[in-house]
Symmetry: C2
Subunit: 484 residues, 2 copies
């Protein structure tokens, strides 16, 4: 069962997968693995493009279906759906470029040839808040397929009907494009997800969502007979800093817009604003002048939000602005709370992420106090600094914040995650379980690869990527020198 | 206390580190981290070269000291010491080349610039069997320093006096070369090692050694408040296959030489030979005609070896050759045992690594039976295939084996691990805790890095690696195109 967040009315949803169905889906993925791994970059790129095309072709109906289950509104969902298709196309171009294979040849002796190979079937657990970008056909699925790994996605309990619709489109598109049967599969239900992560046929897990969910999968995977990597990208507090001289330039409406975007349901939501004195009042007024309207994704998220705000208050945070809830369905009262640096130090709970439209403001009295607050920050996906280009504090703050996150934004907000070659969407624990990896951008496929070196292997027995003739026209490092 | 393996006589060794000493060593590393991270590639390469120089300058006395504690003999230890210094020089050249920084610029909008940054202080746990290559100044320490991570090594209980001597040389060389104080430190004792892994200042762990030791550290690191990556490279069974048509070309003396090299104390020892019928007799004769002579590294390894051989026999393996033990000190009786494919299937213990001069031979009756045995193999660091260049079975076997290891060798043995750009020393679980990484070669520094993206950051506030002027002359990917 899923629900309309606007009313709480239930939708009928596909039944949970049985244990046998899970096993059959994994068996099909395992059977597809060698063919998928052996496909040329061009073939794989074509399969990705087929998925992108079908998503684009069905954008309208997919956005409608998504809106029924997540209530994020058609403009946002149509846009997200289109961007998800664009992202898959981008990954197709990355696959064709071939640098991700990291092919290297040392003529030796000994003759050594290294190339990345796919890990094998990947289980993908998408997020509630991005039903397209981080759903069953989001970045994780696209990048795993890109590297030649079959994917089994778990339908998200917040949007199981959309998950089924997307999976149906992908299976058809892959089949029509000539991809091996079993390249993509879907399972439904909590128990099915657990069975998947414990299944010997699954070789890696990708997860986007809450700390609790991500760490549970991470622990389960570590307890297998053969432990497997879990790439969990989890929501974080993503502090934004206003420099001591930055208050004039600081845009309080931008902050409110960012932390209430999608009703605060972004893993990159700026949940903590660290600013000189006087800024708290401005952001409080901005929220009250511009109250966001919307719903939370699930009843559980709505309950966690309300309970979480109460916990923050108990821990010493004082509400300085609060706007009305929607009045129906899975509701939230958007709010800003103020805390002192001393309270932050005493109550680590104040530095935990709270999913939904709430932010804390902490005002600092001196640069020393600002540094002290930064030193308390847990690992985050992203952080932001606001100050003039020539602000003398800017380089030092960018440096300090870069040690605590995967991305530092100057004079912008962490909520938007652009696609590209230089993107990093990840970060130090507890932002991810694997700080070396990104779940968005050209580096994202690397999660699903491992290198193999072939020593003294005759040319005909080598994988094409490292044969003498370079049949895939890859950039390769030959005797230490990069050749394109 | 450490021991002379030849006689069992005890050496006096430095005392264990106290908890305060561990904390002070970590505090010094933490204090050094920013300076080390901020150093140019040239500076860091110079520091590595200073360590390499001092090792080379003291090669004779270091080899003597090592031989007292590990009894691997001066020719091997002198050679290993020189190669360890060469490896450090190689990493210096890798640092200067700069590709490991993986610098990328998307001009956007938004303007995104990604570069790898060091994780911070790394704890290094070396191995008993390679006191130089995988000792306190081995590949792990060199590659962590290369990336700008301070290192705290734990003295190995099998060679604590050598560990102290090497650490003393490194601290002096780094100091004279101008590296920040605290860049390298040493702690001693089991409790000190545990304290190190649990210390919030430590940001990653590198380990080389047994499954038991590696997995214990991996579990401890996962239970921290902030979990940290553990890169454990652990000994494996490293199967060698003779193709159905390969018996003529197969060199039984090569096999015996490889599995008894260093008294079988290599993590890449070929512990299982999978061959057509008739090969077992040949390898048995080869061992008996050429009995190896030497000692095991520690009393515990000697006891595990003797007990382990007994376990193999209990599990159905039949001794087909056994040669005399040394007669004194930490002894072992080199042996070859034979098993059937059916026994392998019944007794998974037969597929576990046994450290020391022993190998199993399994004869197969058909290609189908060969494939069945290969399908049972656990993850390994390396595997080997022996057969003619034109052998029709070669490509398929290379492919199958590549799915179960980090390196496939044709007509050679896995024991030698050459340095280079295309080397991979790692592999699927349980060979390592991180199949995407290598502990030897140009890719080894990647373990200690994580990417950070700078979004909209003014040039002056960017790290040098991604400034417009490219002051470090790095290869960079600009708007998706690799520029050198």
């Amino acid at each position: 069962m899923s629900f309309d967040p606007r009313t709480g009315a239930a939708w009928e949803t596909p039944p949970d997968s049985t244990p046998d169905e899970v096993d059959d889906t994994v068996a099909a993925a395992v059977a597809a693995a060698d063919d998928l791994a052996g496909a040329t970059p061009d073939e794989r790129a074509g399969w990705l493009e087929a998925i992108a095309d079908t998503i684009k072709d069905h954008k309208g109906e997919l956005a409608d279906k998504a809106d029924e289950e997540v209530a994020l509104g058609l403009p946002r969902l149509t846009g997200e759906c289109g961007r998800a298709a664009d992202a898959i196309r981008f990954y197709a171009s990355v696959v064709r470029e071939g640098g991700w294979l990291d092919a290297a040849i040392d003529h030796g002796p000994p003759d050594l040839r290294r190339v990345n190979v796919p890990l094998g079937p990947v289980a993908v657990f998408g997020a509630s808040n991005f039903p397209f970008g981080f759903g069953v056909l989001g970045h994780d699925t696209a990048t795993a397929l890109a590297t030649g790994c079959p994917v089994i996605a778990k339908a998200h309990p917040a949007h199981p009907r959309l998950s089924a619709a997307l999976a149906g489109l992908a299976v058809r598109a892959l089949d029509e494009a000539g991809a091996p049967a079993g390249s993509f599969g879907l399972v439904s239900g909590f128990a099915a997800g657990q069975r998947l992560v414990g299944h010997p046929g699954i070789r890696a897990v990708a997860f986007t969502g809450s700390q609790r969910g991500g760490l549970a999968l991470w622990r389960q995977a570590a307890e297998r007979d053969e432990a497997i990597p879990v790439f969990a990208e989890m929501g974080t507090v993503n502090a934004a800093v206003v420099t001591p001289n930055g208050t004039d330039k600081f845009d309080e409406n931008g902050f409110v817009g960012s932390f209430t975007l999608g009703m605060g349901q972004f893993c990159t939501k700026p949940g903590l604003l660290i600013a000189p004195e006087g800024v708290a009042e401005r952001v409080a007024a901005a929220l009250e002048n511009n109250p966001p309207h919307g719903w939370l994704l699930t009843e559980q998220i709505a309950e966690s939000f309300t309970g979480g705000v109460r916990e923050l208050e108990k821990a010493g945070a004082r509400p300085i602005a609060r706007t009305p809830a929607s009045g129906t369905g899975w509701q939230a009262q958007p709010a800003i709370l103020a805390v002192t640096p001393a309270e932050l130090r005493r109550n680590p709970v104040l530095l935990e992420e709270l999913f939904g439209p709430v932010a804390l403001v902490v005002e600092y009295a001196s640069r020393a106090e600002l540094d002290e607050v930064i030193a308390m920050l847990p690992g985050s996906l992203a952080t932001a600094v606001h100050g003039d280009e020539g602000d003398p504090d800017l380089p030092g703050l960018v440096g300090k914040l870069s040690r605590r996150c995967g991305r530092v934004v100057v004079n912008g907000w962490p909520t938007g995650v652009a696609m590209g070659w230089a993107q990093q969407h990840g970060g130090p624990w507890p932002a991810t379980t694997s700080p070396a990896h990104s779940s968005v951008g050209a580096a994202a496929p690397r999660r699903f690869l491992r290198p193999v070196t072939f020593q003294g292997v005759p040319d005909a027995a080598l994988p094409p990527a490292v044969r003498n003739s370079n049949p895939w026209h890859l950039p390769r490092r030959v005797d230490g020198v990069l050749e394109q």
